[in-house]
């Protein structure tokens, strides 16, 4: 079951690669939140109940509902145009993201380790590099935040791989999630939206030598 969920997660990465509109990105991120809820539920069922409830609440309430709602709100409030405006065409993006997934898959085959379940490793690495790729190749600042959210989902999956024996690390991962999302989106809502009209990264290129 975990495998099916993780494969669905990987497919959502490719889906983000070919998405055109910002709302598609948001629904993909919400979908990933649901998958993480499932994986966390299956994987962490043995840890103590209170901790489990915290993890599940974080995935279902924070990742799946609050952050997508917040992103929707930001887009509406700042009147961001709905296209993602990538620098490369969607076809190239899909090819590159597939390449990333294939690369992490091949890399994981070099590990000779019976303890580790490689699928976690593969999916987490793919999400990490896909997130970085999205950050690099999209023009809008809000898509940078979305790329970062994809990275965080990848990190969460990796922390689930070790979380059964050390739940503290899952909790710290959650702390990272909440802290960074609130900080980034908070700056976004309060500051960038008021100061910058067209939210294009080219407006953040004044500081240089």
């Amino acid at each position: 079951m975990t495998n099916i969920l993780l494969i669905a997660f990987t497919i959502s990465l490719i889906y983000i690669g070919m998405a055109n509109r910002l709302y598609t990105y948001i629904s993909a991120i919400a979908f990933q939140g649901v998958i993480l809820f499932g994986v966390a539920f299956i994987e962490l069922i043995e840890i103590n109940t209170l901790n489990l409830i915290l993890v599940l609440l974080e995935t279902i309430v924070f990742k799946t509902i609050l952050i997508p709602m917040f992103l929707n709100y930001v887009i509406k409030r700042n009147k961001i145009t709905r296209e993602a405006e990538p620098f490369l065409t969607n076809f190239v993006s899909v090819v590159i993201i597939t390449g990333i997934i294939l690369g992490s898959f091949l890399m994981s085959n070099t590990i000779h380790d019976t303890h580790l379940r490689k699928i976690f490793f593969v999916v987490a690495l793919s999400a990490l590099f896909t997130g970085l790729y999205i950050i690099i190749t999209r023009r809008k600042i809000i898509t940078h935040v979305m790329g970062f959210l994809v990275i965080e989902n990848g990190v969460f999956i990796l922390s689930l791989a070790v979380g059964n024996e050390m739940p503290m690390l899952v909790n710290i991962g959650i702390l990272l999630d909440i802290f960074v999302s609130v900080l980034l989106l908070g700056i976004f809502v309060n500051k960038i939206g008021d100061v910058l009209k067209e939210q294009d990264v080219s407006q953040l290129r004044n500081l240089k030598d």
């Binding site: 580790l116 990490l128 970062f148 990275i151 922390s159 791989a161 960074v180 500051k191 100061v195 953040l204």
Partner: protein
């Protein structure tokens, strides 16, 4: 003690934010300094004793803590000057002081923690408080600086977390569960090399954002440029030290394993690239604050080279960190006076500084000699020891390249500093410029005197602490 300290600093920070009165905030800041020194002395007297489960003062953390407590005093002093000369609303002032207190408290806790995840949490907290300081002026450019800083630091803090997860995979394989530095050091020789390599790559890359090394140095430059100068002084010294400490602690663990030569190579590449990048930008940068920030990148590069070269380089690296974090803030404090006279950060607008502020000009001249590591600067001693360690480790070509780059840096730095000191500025109206009282420069002179003294004649206490902090590294 650390628990009490954290609670008191939190209380002081919130009071600074809510009671917006000059006298009250001065009293509160003095209270914080007292508590900070109490923590430092307590930590020094209780070396290697675990407090509050997750904190344990050891030699390296005590050294950095002492440096922090020294720098905190002039930082607050110059902040009060900053607010008398540049009026801001009481709310902004309160926010600034509260953020600064939280930054210092988070740094102290990050130094003292003995658990890799706890260090990580407090490093995350420094990003938050630093971003409040960078955004202090509330305009488009500071917004850009803040956004870049927060974004890059968030990504690098995520990378550190991934590194910690890989480390956890490695220790779970062997059936361990403890992530304190002490047990990690003990477990290190049996851990899987593959996971340790991955963990080192991620943790090193992540901490370079704080330490100001290639590849993630960019955000720190913008932060130091955009933050008010007393905050920039903290960023270029104590905040960079926390990044260094993160790297150092993990390097200690790596040094017990067979991948030490590989890790040394990575660090050498990062160090030499940092010096190279600093050289390239020093040649073309015209913004004084950015120039000083790139000089910090150069010094961190030297430190990492010393660490990677080994031998006498370990001692030199720690000494260099200490001296650099005393010298660089002094230069940033001096920048505040330059800005008040000329109202500009550009080298082109500043000139003939000796005519307008003789004490400040002497400080600037002295700062140039101290920071570029010319005798009698203490940085000369530590740099010389780093060079010696590079030579002894057989990296002759690397040493030659470093020396060439440093020469270019001295030339670029000197060209700008001497222009600021002696050549008349173009189109500068000196009718009603501000007279700056020499007493504002006392703290800078004291810091420079400390740099010279600690370098030429390091007291036994410092030598013992440094020797104790590198005891875990191979000899």
């Amino acid at each position: 003690m650390i628990g009490i300290y954290l609670v008191i600093s939190l209380v002081i920070a919130s009071m600074l934010y809510f009671f917006r009165n000059k006298t009250v905030s001065n009293i509160l800041l003095s209270c914080f300094i007292i508590v900070q020194w109490a923590l430092t002395i307590h930590a020094y007297n209780n070396l290697e004793i675990v407090q509050w489960v997750y904190f344990m003062p050891d030699s390296i953390s005590v050294i950095l803590l002492i440096v922090l407590s020294i720098i905190a005093i002039p930082a607050f002093f110059h902040s009060t000057i900053y607010f008398t000369k540049h009026p801001y609303s009481p709310r902004e002032e309160g926010m600034y002081y509260a953020a600064m207190v939280i930054l210092l408290a988070a740094l102290s806790a990050a130094y003292l923690s003995n658990h890799i995840a706890i260090t990580w949490i407090f490093v995350e907290l420094t990003t938050l408080s630093a971003s409040a300081l960078i955004y202090h002026r509330r305009n488009l450019k500071t917004l850009e600086g803040t956004w870049k800083y927060v974004f890059v630091c968030s990504i690098s803090i995520t990378l550190v977390f991934i590194g910690i997860l890989f480390l956890t995979i490695a220790i779970q394989q062997e059936g361990f569960k403890d992530l304190t530095y002490k047990s990690l050091l003990a477990d290190a020789p049996v851990l899987s090399v593959f996971w340790l390599k991955l963990a080192f790559l991620f943790i090193f890359t992540g901490f370079t954002a704080k330490a100001g090394l290639v590849p993630m140095y960019t955000a720190g430059i913008d932060a130091k440029d955009k933050a008010p100068y007393p905050a920039a002084a903290l960023f270029s010294s104590v905040l960079m030290n926390v990044g260094f400490l993160g790297i150092f602690r993990f390097y200690e663990i790596i040094s017990r394993t067979s991948i030490l030569p590989w890790a040394n190579k990575i660090m050498m590449i990062s160090g030499i690239l940092s010096i190279f990048v600093a050289t390239v930008y020093m040649l073309r940068v015209k913004n004084i604050k950015r120039m000083m920030a790139y000089s910090s990148v150069e010094h961190m590069g030297i430190v990492v080279l010393g660490l990677a070269a080994g031998g006498v380089g370990y001692f030199a690296a720690i000494l260099h960190i200490v001296l650099h974090s005393l010298a660089k803030p002094a230069m940033f404090f001096q920048f505040g006076q330059i800005y008040r006279i000329y109202g500009s950060k550009s080298v082109y607008d500043v000139g003939n500084y000796f005519k307008y502020n003789i004490t400040g000009a002497i400080v600037l001249l002295l700062a140039f000699f101290i920071i570029t590591g010319m005798p009698p600067s203490g940085l000369f001693i530590s740099e010389f020891m780093v060079f010696r360690s590079l030579f002894e480790a057989g990296n002759l070509w690397l040493l030659i390249i470093v020396l060439l780059l440093l020469t270019i840096i001295i030339w670029a730095f000197g060209k700008n500093v001497f222009k600021m000191l002696f050549i008349n500025p173009i189109g500068f109206n000196d009718d009603n410029i501000e007279k700056i009282h020499p007493s504002e420069s006392i703290s800078q002179f004291v810091l420079f005197a400390l740099v010279i003294y600690l370098g030429l004649n390091p007291p036994d206490m410092l030598v013992n602490l440094i020797n104790a902090s590198i005891i875990n590294l191979p000899h």
